[in-house]
Chain length 222, copies 2
DNA sequence: TGAATAGTGTCTTTCAGACAATATCCA
DNA sequence: TGGATATTGTCTGAAAGACACTATTCA
């Protein structure tokens, strides 16, 4: 067996982790799921949920992220999207650390945060209200900020957060979700015009949402 | 020393590499720099230049990418931007492979491709003309396609490829470069209007490029 | 009937593409 | 003077924001 065919033995490889930036709308505001670290390093500080990449268990990065979601949060995450990779000698005091960060949107009502292994608390934090003075672990503040920026940028461009609404929804619900993600109001007429022009949603024939007032047409994603 | 503080010893870590997708304009067309592999695996196939992440040498991923550029291409790459991380058990026959891919723009006239270690040939390939039937190594076709898509998307949005033009340039040269990257012509009036509205360039007072015909104002990036 | 939400219509501004017109150099 | 490029201007249509208007339900 040549050196070329067994590169693992030649150079030490970095400590490689998966980090999950999970965003949701809680109490009408965009929020991120953070875990309070129970052990060193950075004990007591807040980190996004994550875990070690296990090449003996994980076929690829995607399935590693799914496994971590299942282990840490006990919930599967639809539409995990890679955010970025960060790696340096200094970001983790235990040694050269490499993290592949993923982002996901999760309906808050489908999930109850419960503390688990190496986690004292698990809770939602409003990204505009609760993060300014929060003590983050590692470089996780930057991870959260990047994920928030990307998601808001996408919603601005009408990449709709379907992961945050039920399969069937009214246009009012969809618009309200977008407004909560962005933290600002949207114009109803413009919003609906763009939905129509780009054929982003289709009506569910016959189904109406009958609430307190005038019934609303029910839609699905196109 | 606890297990928690020495995680490297607990789980095997993936074989981690840096890959560089280097794009340029050659003969008026967007081109990518590819290296023909001299050894197994995938001997004779074409790959983007890359190298192993060396945590004993590299402070972080950025400097690792710079070191690889220096070693493989003998040229520093301005504005390396991370493209994505890919990792799976199957993409490299030598074992679980993780690659962090970076992209960069490099003026072709400032660089002469020369073969080097583990590389038979190093050459530019037109991304629209020469790649269709090319035998790529690993998953590098997808890396190239993603980098091309991202760069073209950026130029469409007037994120200008300043790395491909000299420090001082005329608007005609800048527009021609954008057109070559995109593979289509642009409207002169719209192009200049956007440059002006967004203050992307500033004139170099007094300096004019005097060529065969009417002299042109020289600009710098803002 | 009024409150509250659903759905539509219109006006205006902005912005980008198309295209034309003028300006200035060299051969 | 004509050819080629530089620079500016005008027209038009698409897209989006602002805002108003109508529709439907229940209390």
């Amino acid at each position: 067996m040549t050196v070329e065919s067994m590169p693992h033995t030649v150079h030490p490889m970095p400590f490689t982790r998966i980090e999950l930036v999970v965003l949701s709308v809680v109490d009408g505001r965009l929020a991120v799921l953070l875990a309070r670290r129970a052990g060193a390093p950075h004990k007591g500080r807040w980190a996004v949920p994550g875990g070690v990449l296990r090449i003996d268990l994980d076929r690829d990065l995607e399935s590693a992220a799914q496994r971590v979601a299942q282990e840490r949060l006990n919930v599967p995450l639809p539409h995990l999207v890679q955010l970025l990779a960060v790696g340096s000698a200094k970001r983790d005091p235990r040694g050269w650390g490499l993290s592949i960060a993923y982002r996901a949107l999760l309906p808050a009502d489908a999930f109850h945060p419960v503390a688990g292994k190496r986690v004292e608390q698990l809770d939602w934090f409003g990204v505009d209200d609760d993060l300014a003075d929060l003590a983050f672990a590692f470089d996780h503040r930057q991870l959260v900020e990047q994920a928030v920026a990307v998601v808001r940028h996408e919603v601005e461009r009408m990449a709709l957060p379907f992961d945050l609404v039920p399969e069937k929804f009214t246009l009012g619900e969809l618009q309200a979700t977008c407004e909560e993600v962005l933290g600002r109001t949207l114009d109803k007429s413009s919003f609906r015009r763009k939905l129509d022009e780009r054929s982003l949603v289709v009506p569910v024939e016959g189904e109406m949402r009958t609430g307190a007032f005038r019934p609303a047409q029910v839609f699905r994603r196109a």
